[in-house]
């Protein structure tokens, strides 16, 4: 591998440049016209414009991206996250054109691509999923299933999403009426009254396991706790979680088993819900590098993006499970150009004054520079600040110190820093009492 085309933007494009450069691989950043003055474009060895600002015509424009790789002589493409990262067709087309796709195989993506298929594969590999039914045919069937699964259960619209058509049911008495209501809501919202039933997990932790595979061998790099979310958007992540060692190991081993079962190649993440008793349920797999990968890098010392490159070059996995050792605790905060006081409304603008934190245990991944105009076309992530320390308590205090010395200012520019400062000060957070509805319940946001 001599030259990689980076089919992405922002901090992850910069992250990929850094990994490539340390491996002696040249970089070409493919960018939209809106990102012409972005830091990855300025720092890469080469840059090529692949379309106008809307990502449908640029970062998702497969013909232009492949053509850009061909005309610049790139022999590999790194998709980053989002955009085309989990697009099996794109991975396949790269292969057809003799370009190495830095990520899993198209077959891996298809085996894990949609939730239903992934659940099936998980069951084959003996990994628990959230117990549930198919579309309900009758009240009797629902009652039987609910009894088997155990209350509380949740009704969900087959065609649905976003909370509509959902109903939590605690006892059999409530069930019939709840089904009727859920069906009515589902019909109104989606034009389809079909509902199904699932075990309702109260206050679950969102735990994800990082894996690396070479198609044959798979190792896990332990877990990340991503429970601090707002409307399913992760905001703050930490590694390791506060779960007991036995639970952590059981989940991590299940994840590695599943990845091994599909012959997984490259870096990937398996997401689980974990209930208060330590029962865990596989939800889905992300077949890409993730935003929050740095916390795993900090506790294991392993560079995940470099690992993606090495695996894509055909290197057999150089790590055995016993080589992977967790040291200390890491926390990442996602700094978004959003106003947490106004419902996290995007708040774009020009960065005029910029001071990132430094000193011991602090890592900054950001594409900002003083004078950078944040374009309105893409997501609002502008920086990731990551703190490492020997213990969770020290990592929290270090992150507080780092956020206190951070300055990201410009006319009208707001960031999520004040939100993170509140999370870090929250007594429930400090004692590790986090779960997916933490922000809604403890932060009232």
């Amino acid at each position: 591998m001599k030259k990689v085309l980076i089919a992405n933007r922002g901090e992850i494009a910069l992250r990929i440049i850094r990994a490539a450069r340390e491996l002696g691989i040249k970089t070409v950043v493919a960018h939209s016209t809106a990102d012409e003055k972005s830091l990855p474009v300025l720092l890469a060895d080469e840059a090529i414009c692949i379309g106008p600002p809307p990502s449908g015509q640029s970062y998702l424009n497969i013909p232009n991206l492949l053509s850009a790789a061909i005309v610049t002589g790139a022999d590999a493409i790194h998709p980053g996250y989002g955009f085309l990262a989990e697009n099996a067709t794109f991975a396949e087309m790269c292969r057809e054109h003799g370009i190495t796709f830095i990520g899993p195989t198209p077959e891996n993506m298809r085996a894990l691509g949609d939730k239903a298929t992934a659940r099936k594969v998980a069951r084959e590999a003996g990994v628990p999923t959230v117990p549930g039914t198919d579309e309900l045919e009758s009240i009797e069937e629902a009652k039987r299933a609910a009894l088997e699964i155990g209350y509380p259960v949740i009704l969900k619209a087959s065609a649905g999403g976003g909370g509509r058509g959902m109903r939590v049911v605690h006892t059999e008495e409530e069930l019939e009426r709840a089904i009727q209501q859920a069906q009515e809501e589902a019909r109104a919202a989606f034009g389809n009254p079909a509902v199904y039933l699932e075990k309702y997990i109260e206050e679950p932790k969102h735990i994800e396991i990082q894996v690396l595979g070479d198609g044959e061998n798979v190792v896990h790099l332990w877990e990340r706790d991503c429970s601090i979310q707002r409307r399913h958007q992760k905001l703050l992540e930490e590694a390791p979680s506060v779960l007991p060692y036995e639970t952590r190991r059981a989940i991590a081993e299940a994840a590695a088993r599943l990845a091994r079962h599909v012959g997984y190649v490259s870096a990937g993440t398996l997401e689980f819900l974990v209930d208060k008793e330590g029962n865990f349920y596989f939800i889905e797999m992300n077949t890409r590098i993730q935003v929050e990968h740095p916390i795993t890098e900090l506790i294991t010392g392993i560079d995940l993006v470099q690992a993606q490159f090495r695996i894509a070059q055909g290197e057999k996995l150089w790590l055995r499970q016993e080589d992977i050792e967790v040291r200390g605790h890491a926390i990442e905060v996602r700094i978004n150009a959003e106003d947490p006081e106004k419902g996290f409304r995007p708040s774009i603008g020009k960065v005029e004054t910029l001071l990132f934190p430094g000193g011991p245990g602090i890592r900054v991944d950001s594409h900002l520079y003083a004078g950078y105009q944040i374009p309105p076309h893409y997501d609002s992530l502008i920086a990731k600040i990551i703190a490492w320390a020997p213990t969770r308590e020290e990592a929290i205090r270090r992150m507080e110190r780092a956020l206190a010395e951070t300055v990201i200012e410009g006319p009208g520019l707001k960031t999520t820093i004040p939100f993170h400062q509140k999370v870090l000060q929250n007594a429930f957070f400090r004692r590790g009492a986090v779960y997916t509805n933490f922000v809604a319940r403890r932060m009232e946001m």
């Binding site: 720092l43 080469e46 090529i48 414009c49 013909p63 005309v71 610049t72 520079y369 950078y372």
Partner: protein, 167 residues
Amino acid sequence: MTPKELKQILQALVEHGVNELTLETPDYKLTVRRGGEVQVVAMPQVVAPPPSPPVPVAPAPRPEVPAAPAPVPAPEPVQASPKEECAGCVEVKAPIVGTFYRAPAPDAPPYVKEGDRVEKGQVLCIIEAMKLMNEIESEVAGIVKKILVQNGEPVEYGQPLFLIQPV
């Protein structure tokens, strides 16, 4: 300038991380932008009349150090758009990424040459992308004032290809 000399210059630029260079001598003018185009424009050889008293050389323009902090990193210098060379001209830009060809086949004559008159919708060139030949048509009727890309060169999205003076 010999190709060997040109190669040496380019090698020097690559080795030294220089992105842009303009070299003017009585014999030639060379403009190089790394990752972009390379132009060698031959200057007419002019026989100098007998020496006359030297005239003080005016200081050549040089980039001034900005008084105020430049953004980090400094934006690339704003280049005179090709369009400025021809007031009223229409720029035809690459709508896709690929390789620019002036003719439908290596041995065929080019679609157009500078000075040609073209109609709206007339094919000006093709851009090959992933083995597909995409014909690029003129958006206006007019005279081809300038062809901005060499045959066989890669082009990026939005790159100016032709200047056409509408008639």
